[in-house]
C-alpha cells in the first residue's frame, strides 16, 4: 500500500485539478459564508444584489453564517472532491497510463484504494482547515457571535462536509466505467442538479446526496431538524458501498 500511496501522493500533489479544488474547498466556505452575511449587513448594499442578500440580513450574525456555511460546504465538498477523484481515477485512461498498472506486484485494487485514501485524507484536511478558517474569520469579524451554539452548528457543518466528501468518492466508479474524467464530470453536474430538484420537492431526507446538506442547515432549521441519524447512516453506507464498488471496478477493468 505504501508504494501505491507514494505514487498517488506524487501525482495528485502536482495536478492543477488538486490545486484548484484545494482553493475551492479551503477558501470558499469562510469567504462565502462570513463574507456574504457581512456584505448583506453592510449599509451600502443596494440594488439586485441587496435582494439576493436579504435572507442574510436578519437574525443573529453567527447563526446566519453557520446556516450559510452549511449550504456552501455541502456543495463545494461534493463538487470539489468529486472533480478531484474524477481526475485522479479518470486520468489513468485520459493520459493512457492505466496499461502500465496491469500485472504488477502491487494489485490494481491496492492502487484504487490508495487513490481513494489520498483523496479522503486531502478532503478531510481541506474541510477541517475551511471550518477552522470560518470560525476564526467569524471570531475576527464579530467575536461575540461565536457562541457555543454557533460552534456546535459549525461542527455539524464540518461533519456534513466530510459526509458529502465521502459521497463524492463514488464518482470514481463513473470515471472507471466511462474510461476518463469527462463522464464523471458529467455525473457530478447531474447529481448536483438532481439533488437541487429533489430537495425542492421535499424528497431529500432519504437521498444520500441531499440528507447531509439538509442536516447541515442548507434548507433551514426546520428541514435540518427533520433529518434523523438513520438518514445520515444511509448516506454513509451508500458512500462506503459505492466506494467499494469503485475499487472493484478499477481492479477488474480491461483495455478491450
Amino acid at each position: 500500500m505504501r508504494t501505491a500511496l507514494a505514487l498517488q501522493v506524487a501525482t495528485f500533489s502536482r495536478s492543477l485539478t488538486a490545486r484548484l479544488a484545494t482553493v475551492l474547498l479551503v477558501v470558499f466556505p469562510p469567504l462565502m459564508s462570513v463574507g456574504m452575511v457581512a456584505l448583506a449587513r453592510a449599509a451600502d448594499a443596494a440594488g439586485p444584489s441587496a435582494a439576493k442578500l436579504a435572507p442574510y440580513r436578519e437574525g443573529p450574525f453567527g447563526e446566519t453564517v453557520a446556516g450559510l456555511a452549511g449550504q456552501v460546504v455541502s456543495v463545494v465538498a461534493l463538487i470539489g472532491v468529486g472533480f478531484a477523484v474524477a481526475w485522479l481515477v479518470g486520468r489513468e485512461w485520459a493520459d493512457r497510463t492505466v496499461g502500465s498498472l496491469f500485472a504488477l506486484p502491487v494489485p490494481r485494487a491496492t492502487v484504487a484504494r490508495a487513490k481513494l485514501l489520498v483523496i479522503a485524507a486531502w478532503a478531510g484536511a481541506c474541510l477541517t482547515l475551511a471550518m477552522a478558517l470560518t470560525a476564526a474569520t467569524l471570531a475576527a469579524v464579530d467575536p461575540a457571535s461565536l457562541t457555543a451554539a454557533v460552534a456546535g452548528q459549525l461542527a455539524r457543518v464540518w461533519v456534513a462536509g466530510l459526509l458529502m466528501a465521502a459521497l463524492a468518492l463514488p464518482f470514481a466508479w463513473v470515471a472507471v466505467r466511462s474510461r476518463g474524467y469527462l463522464g464523471a464530470a458529467g455525473a457530478i453536474v447531474g447529481v448536483t442538479a438532481a439533488s437541487q430538484i429533489l430537495a425542492m420537492v421535499g424528497a431529500g431526507a432519504w437521498v444520500p446526496y441531499i440528507a447531509p446538506a439538509m442536516w447541515a442547515g442548507a434548507g433551514g432549521p426546520e428541514e435540518a431538524a427533520a433529518i434523523g441519524p438513520a438518514s445520515l447512516v444511509l448516506a454513509a453506507a451508500f458512500a462506503a458501498v459505492a466506494s467499494w464498488a469503485s475499487v472493484r471496478a478499477f481492479a477488474r477493468a480491461t483495455l478491450d
Partner: protein, 250 residues
C-alpha cells in the same frame, strides 16, 4: 522452466478473431521476436499475457504459473511495454523510474539506485529532472524502457519498442535486450523493423490472422521477402478465412 507460454489463445471481437488458437513460448535467455502485419494479433497476444484483455479460450502461463493466478513474486519478474510506455507526465524522468521500480517490487533505496543507473545507461541524464510531459516521443520511449527494465525482470515483453526511437536509441534498446537475454531473461518482442529483429532474435515467429503461421531463421538475408511469401501462402491456403477476416476488419 518456460518464462512464458501462450497456449491455444482465442480472443474474438464480434466477428473478428483477433487471436485464433495462437500458441508460442519464450524460454529463459531467449529473444523471441514475433512479426506480422497490423491486426495480425501480436499486440492482442501481449495484452492477454498481462491481463489487459481476457481470453475467450486458451491459457497464459508465466514461469509455469497460470498468469490469472500469478502472485506478486511472479509478477515482480515481469516487465512490459505495450501500446503506451510507463510515464506520468507530471513526474520527472527520475521520479517515474523510481515509482515504476517500486511498483515492480524494489525497495526505495534499490529503486533510487536503479533509476540513476538506467538514466545513465539510456542516456537520459540531461532530462533526468525534467517532467515527462516535456520529453520527445523517442525519449518517452527510452523512459518507458527504463521503467520496465530497472527491476531486472526475468521476462521482458516489448511491443514495437523501436517505433519512435532514433538510430542511437535503437542501438541502446538492442543492447538492453541482448544484455537482458544474456543474464537469463526471456524477451518477447514485436517489431516491424525486420532487419533489426533478424540481427538480435534467437527465434522469429510469423503471426498472421491471430495464429502462428510459421517461423523464419534469424540472420538470413531478405527477411521481408520470406515473411510476405509466408503470409501470402497462408492466405492462399485459407482464402475463405482471409476474405471473412478482411470483411471484419473493414
Amino acid at each position: 522452466m518456460t518464462a512464458l507460454e501462450i497456449r491455444d489463445a482465442v480472443r474474438a471481437y464480434g466477428d473478428l478473431r483477433a487471436l485464433d488458437g495462437l500458441t508460442l513460448t519464450v524460454e529463459p535467455g531467449e529473444i523471441h521476436a514475433i512479426i506480422g502485419l497490423n491486426g495480425a494479433g501480436k499486440t492482442t497476444a501481449m495484452k492477454a499475457v498481462v491481463g489487459q484483455t481476457r481470453l475467450d479460450a486458451g491459457e497464459v502461463r508465466l514461469f509455469d504459473t497460470p498468469a490469472a493466478s500469478a502472485g506478486p513474486a511472479t509478477l515482480a519478474r515481469l516487465g512490459f511495454v505495450i501500446d503506451q510506455p510507463f510515464g506520468y507526465p507530471e513526474l520527472s524522468v527520475r521520479e517515474n523510474i523510481v515509482h515504476a521500480a517500486r511498483l515492480h517490487g524494489l525497495p526505495m533505496n534499490a529503486a533510487a539506485a536503479a533509476a540513476s543507473s538506467w538514466i545513465a545507461r539510456l542516456e537520459l541524464g540531461p532530462w533526468a529532472a525534467r517532467r515527462a510531459r516535456g520529453l520527445s516521443l523517442g525519449n518517452r520511449q527510452r523512459l518507458g524502457l527504463a521503467c520496465v527494465a530497472a527491476h531486472a525482470p526475468d521476462l521482458l515483453i516489448l511491443d514495437e519498442p523501436t517505433n519512435a526511437l532514433d538510430p542511437a536509441g535503437v542501438l541502446l534498446l538492442r543492447d538492453v535486450i541482448v544484455a537482458a537475454a544474456g543474464r537469463g531473461a526471456g524477451v518477447l518482442v514485436s517489431s516491424h523493423h525486420l532487419d533489426e529483429v533478424s540481427r538480435i532474435a534467437h527465434r522469429i515467429t510469423v503471426v498472421h490472422a491471430g495464429r502462428v503461421v510459421g517461423t523464419l531463421e534469424p540472420g538470413q538475408a531478405d527477411l521481408e521477402h520470406r515473411f510476405f511469401e509466408m503470409v501470402r501462402a497462408w492466405d492462399e491456403d485459407h482464402r475463405e478465412d482471409a476474405h471473412s477476416r478482411q470483411g471484419a476488419l473493414a
